[in-house]
Symmetry: D2
Subunit: 138 residues, 4 copies
């Protein structure tokens, strides 16, 4: 963030009051930051909907590590992803259950496809993909 601009918005005082209450509740230090977050959120949502944009994704998986072959299958899938997978974090939730977060970078379409395959693997109890920004243009 190098080149800052400033612009004004007009708003009904009751609407602003409610917004101020909400963002205080969410821990924002000021309105500018809260509104920039709303703007960035909208842009990220649009980018994620467009298949060809480069995005970063995190795939959260919860699975039973006793499921035969699952760990190996997930690891293999990551290694054959042609450079999409950047990193992975593995956590032992309890004796049976693991959580794995896989960080992926690539075109939205490729990221979704890889996420679908891992989430759909037999033994994965729950999985979710978050699509976020590479940070470059935001």
């Amino acid at each position: 963030m190098s080149d800052l601009l400033r612009f004004g918005i007009s708003i009904d005082h009751r609407l602003l009051q409610q917004f101020d209450d909400l963002i205080a509740d969410k821990g924002y230090v000021n309105r500018s930051e809260a509104i920039r977050d709303l703007i960035r959120n909208t842009l990220v949502t649009e980018a994620a909907a467009s298949d060809e944009e480069e995005i970063v994704g995190t795939v959260t998986l919860v699975y039973n590590h006793h499921t035969r072959e699952l760990s190996r299958q997930l690891t293999n899938r990551q290694h054959t992803s042609h450079g999409l997978v950047i990193s992975a974090l593995h956590i032992h939730l309890d004796e049976q259950n693991c959580l794995e977060v896989i960080v992926v970078k690539g075109k939205a379409r490729e990221v979704k496809k890889l996420a679908d395959e891992m989430i759909g693997a037999r033994g994965v109890k729950h999985g979710k993909l978050v699509m976020t920004t590479t940070g470059k243009d935001l």
Copy 2:
């Protein structure tokens, strides 16, 4: 909207450029309106998450009107909703399929419960609840 305030927000010029492109695409006439929409959207989402807030909902249902008893069941359910249902619009999509939009007003909790019951009725192919504002405070 009677009592208008004006405040400034500072923002990186590249972020603003992307936002301007997006809102032009979506047909907004200016930034203030787009940002007010983001703010109102956030407030409506919060209100809908809180069970006790008064909201307006629209329940969209698609169903096969040949399903025995379904039309009557849906109508009965609306009439026994203790004043939640304001109005309904019925559309014949084709010889078999109907779309019905039911407009509901009440506490978020009650509205969700009524929507769940109608969406879950046997013969309803797809249903979705939109929770919106009564307009009073926005």
Copy 3:
């Protein structure tokens, strides 16, 4: 629904117990109906994500009907939508606020574009698009 098939699914008894509790809560009469609803929901979500599929949409708008030109603008937009708009329901929420539900049918891409324009119109306080099925294949 003419040609019914039947197939079996195997499931852990604790998982099934939780599902049974949830669907009883939501008012489902049996598991088959609840699972068919999950399946149809998934198919509708996929269709809505694909720009070229024919879908039915409902656009819910809340606006202040005193906003100059807004009613006329919304009506004009509907009339110039080249046959997308099937019907509309208008409700007076209070002295100032109206709710309008516009039912639209067409390609997902066209429906989203029309919805964006109406939701982005100056004076519209909140708007939401629901994309649902034409019912034909579900």
Copy 4:
């Protein structure tokens, strides 16, 4: 998954055909697994909506690590979270941008509050919370 039950569901053949096509596309090996995933997804969504259920969350943050004090602030916030934070993964996306995934476990209400605070911190460009299961009951 120790105690497996089996039950049948009846379904229109065209609906089943479409479902089969979709799950093949998503890489599922069979219908049972796909339907169990739909069921678990629904249960996780319900649990996340209920403030008091114990869940696991992953918070994905993208931020500019040059933002003064931000890294330290995020680290401090995690350390004062009274045991909510299990682990964190930090990735250097480029010279300016970092991605951090924080894994959190606790009541849905507490997890949401902590996520809101980190996402709202000045300098965080985009943030998203995924709520998933501890795996215990699924």
